[in-house]
Amino acid sequence: MNEVVLDARDISRSFMISQGFMRAKRPLHAVNGVNLKLHRGEVLALVGESGCGKTTLAKMLLGLLPPSAGTLELDGQPLASLSHLEVARIVQPIFQDPYSSLNPRKSIGSIITLPLQVQGDKDPASWRQRAEEIMELVGLPRRVYNNFPSQLSGGQRQRVAIARALINRPRVVICDEPTSALDVSVQSQILNLLQDLRQELGLTYLMISHNLAVVEHMATRIAVMYLGRIVEEGEAESVYNSPRHPYTEALLGSVLTPDPSLGVPDTHLGAAYPNPLDMPSGCSFHPRCTKMLPQCAQQAPSPIPTESGHVECSLYEENKGKMRITS
């Protein structure tokens, strides 16, 4: 259970952003010193608002984007030493929008067997059978094998995408908002399927989502990302029940549970998301923070261990994880 399948150590990625004609480019630190360990069999949810760097992080973990600093290990081997095909056998993605993640010109069968083709599978005669096995596992009727994506519903397309990701039995699946493009009733079917598959195939999920109700339902661990850094990380239970970082609190506070006796919460987050090109000094969350301390504007907090993870917030600096002021 405690085997680490994916280990990111202090990885960063910046992009050079053009400021316009004849002006110097500036670096955008999309991911800024992230540490992440994914243990076998767990579901780690990565939550944060758009622009916080979660998609860039996912791309690095998939080996599509080299980190500009830090090291990444898959299954105990440095990612940089693995070939694309080796990485593809270990980690696979599931994308948000099943309308854009399937090539509209290819049949379902050739989409699902593409991984076998690419890996140079020795036995093409068995492809059809293996595809049908995985189709059955994800709940797709066999006869759609020769159909095209435009003939399937959104939920079925997402099942095709899942089948493609799983046919080579990867160990880690990175789900990037796997249900947010789907209708509510289809969303629950896909979430159930992902749960079943995890148990059946012993998968490890990294789930990227902004839907905290879904995250709460699926995740065993939660990492909260803000402006390129993981500001809080821990067991799902403890993050949900006692969030430490004010940002986590605000995020959880804005979850709208279907309870008509409650009104719309006021997050007190005030100003909009900062421009990542123009990061605030000190703690990057301080301009929106309701519990800001005088030193927050100058001094960036360092990670403080908690019972199940860590938090990056100056409130907890002195007595190691306990809140300094209770207000």
């Binding site: 608002e49 969303q187 339902h217 009104g263 997050t267 909009a272």
Partner: protein
């Protein structure tokens, strides 16, 4: 004088397609009172957005709209001609769309776009229009409002743009605002802020608000009354409390079982699901539209059209034979909500 801002009766939208007529919306009846929030909730393709466009008379040209009544504050606004309709649009009822980037014109400043609607409908000076714009931008929580007037939409973030859209909808002091998925494109924290703002403004200006969404969490938190739509029909209406505490239609119950609720649904447990898919609305369908996916379906569900049954409490109605048996009431007028 009734308190009803909007009354729609038997709204029907047919769209001709190569394979037959698509009955996108079928005899939908809704009403909104002053100061009330009506949420229309449903999944994609259920006709909720078309309903809102039909009220604004903004349907695509080939769609055919029929209604026995479409009244804004007691006055008919059905087929009154594009000229008079465009006087009403943006003045007495305005609309907020999902994607704030595409609904603002990138070539004009925020100030131009805000004042344009006001100067189009009301006789006001440039200065007065500008003052009103600044006042409303401050109302929707935009700091340094006066300096924002000269900015272009691309200089604002998504949340700010949606705030500008709300300010724009409020410029003429409308009786009714229709918001079509106003927060779907936004982040969760911004979503909460925008909804908070909408609810506050609606109370302050005593407007009617129709909010169209697929998100049951949003509905529960903001709605006074709810209309659940499925496959072109309203299947259930009631107050938010009635709908969420005591859902009567199998579809509503199915939807509620589908969403994980922190603290209530066991972590990792199977969620409820509604099997099957939405039926095609091309051609006529006898009986209940939900029958093919309903776990409680009976023989007589698929033979004759299901009327909207009035519930025990006022304002409550369900389009389901089971509910009829439960209450033992006579069917209400077809589709009264």
């Amino acid at each position: 004088m009734s308190n009803k801002i909007l009354e729609v009766q038997d709204l029907t939208i047919d769209i001709p397609t190569p394979s037959g007529t698509l009955h996108a919306v079928q005899s939908v009846s809704i009403h909104v009172d002053r100061g009330e929030t009506l949420c229309i909730v449903g999944e994609s393709g259920c006709g909720k957005s078309l309903t809102s466009l039909a009220i604004m008379d903004l349907l695509p040209r080939k769609a055919v709209r029929k209604a026995t009544r479409l009244e804004l504050a007691g006055e008919s606004v059905f087929d009154i001609g594009e000229r008079r309709m465009s006087d009403i649009r943006g003045d007495r009822m305005s609309m907020i769309f999902q994607e704030p980037m595409t609904s603002l014109n990138p070539a004009y400043t925020i100030g131009d776009q805000l004042t344009e609607a006001l100067r189009r409908h009301k006789k006001v000076s440039r200065r007065e229009a500008r003052d009103r714009a600044v006042f409303l931008l401050e109302k929707v929580g935009i700091t340094a409002a006066a300096s924002r007037l000269g900015q272009y939409p691309h200089q604002l973030s998504g949340g700010l743009r949606q705030r500008v859209m709300i300010a724009m909808a409020l410029m003429c002091g409308p009786d009714l605002i229709i918001a079509d998925e106003p927060t779907t494109a936004l982040d969760v924290t911004i979503q909460a802020q925008i909804l908070h703002l909408l609810a506050e403004l609606q109370r302050e200006f005593n407007m009617g608000l129709i909010l169209i969404t697929h998100d049951l969490g949003v509905v529960a938190r903001i709605a006074d009354r709810v209309a659940v739509m499925y496959a072109g029909q309203i299947v259930e209406t009631g107050t938010a409390k009635q709908i969420f505490k005591n859902p009567a239609h199998p579809y509503t119950r199915g939807l509620l079982a589908c969403i994980p609720i922190p603290g209530q649904t066991a972590r990792g447990a199977h969620l409820g699901a509604i099997p099957g898919i939405v039926p095609s609305l091309v051609g006529r369908m006898p009986g209940c539209h939900f029958a093919s996916r309903c776990s409680e379906v009976r023989d007589n569900c698929t033979t004759a059209p299901i009327p909207q049954f009035e519930g025990a409490e006022p304002g409550r109605s369900v389009r389901c034979l089971l509910a009829d048996e439960a209450t033992g009431r006579e069917p209400a007028r077809e589709g009264a909500a």
